[in-house]
Amino acid sequence: MLSSLAVSLPPKVYSPYYYDTVGNVSTSHFRSSVDPKYPTAKGRKESNLELRPRYPLLGGWTYNFTMGYVAPLQDYLTAGTGREYELRVPFMSAIKDVPADQVEVRISLPESAK
């Protein structure tokens, strides 16, 4: 029976959200890698997001939800020559060791990007 999912997000991640088809799911807990009381401290190597589905998942049960977060761009973008940039983005979800049947990744680049 699955009652909660632990997601390890990269450090310096902010504004996570978690909602499903009914609405926002409040049963989640986010521990940032940096304590907001001491913003200049080194902080942990990762942030933790613990998601609890609306109902526990017994064998064979499914649950649809949407989760998201915002990360600083410097960790993923490196400048190339001139106006070229190299973007490296994690392909799979941050939930570890989970196989997937179908994965679709859409990357929206800024306007007038070629």
Partner: protein
């Protein structure tokens, strides 16, 4: 290559994924040894075999751990130079691929089966030649999960 017909007695040690075993079937001609609470069942043949055999063993064991999988994952990544941020959104369809409950809250006598898996695996490796050793090695696992109704209910 001539096939040697040797008289051999076989014994196979099987280590199950979980120590809590519901029941297991013993193939004909074999006797099973299993200490309660142990993960290992040893099947030893009572008499020698004259021709190659591939006996099948069905084991019903307890496995309450969830097996999380994505049926569908849609990841949307947006790059914004204006706010210097990368926002990632995951639309997830999660499924628990662990053992399914047979009857959801209706029949209490079957609630026991809700956390159990059954596997069927050959007792000996299919490639083991008949002339080999006295105690067979652990067979290569070709087990797969069965529906709960495969084993005869006690």
């Amino acid at each position: 290559m001539s096939q040697l017909l040797a008289l051999i007695a076989l014994s196979s040690k099987n280590r199950m994924p979980s120590p809590k075993l519901q029941r297991y079937s013993t193939p004909p001609g074999f006797s099973a040894t299993h200490t309660k609470g142990s993960q290992t069942i040893v099947f030893s043949s009572k008499e020698a075999f004259t021709k190659p055999v591939l006996p099948m063993v069905a084991v019903h064991y307890f496995s309450p751990e969830p097996v999380v999988a994505f049926r569908n994952l849609k990841r949307s990544v947006e790059v914004s130079h204006w706010s210097s941020s990368l926002s990632i959104e995951d639309e997830v369809e999660l499924i628990n691929n662990g053992p399914a409950s047979v009857a959801t809250l209706v029949c209490r006598c079957k609630a026991d089966q809700a956390s159990t898996l059954q596997i069927e695996r050959p007792l000996l490796s299919p490639n083991a030649p008949a002339t080999k050793l006295l105690s067979a090695r652990h067979p290569t696992s070709t087990s797969r999960a069965l529906q709960p109704s495969r084993l005869a209910t006690p």
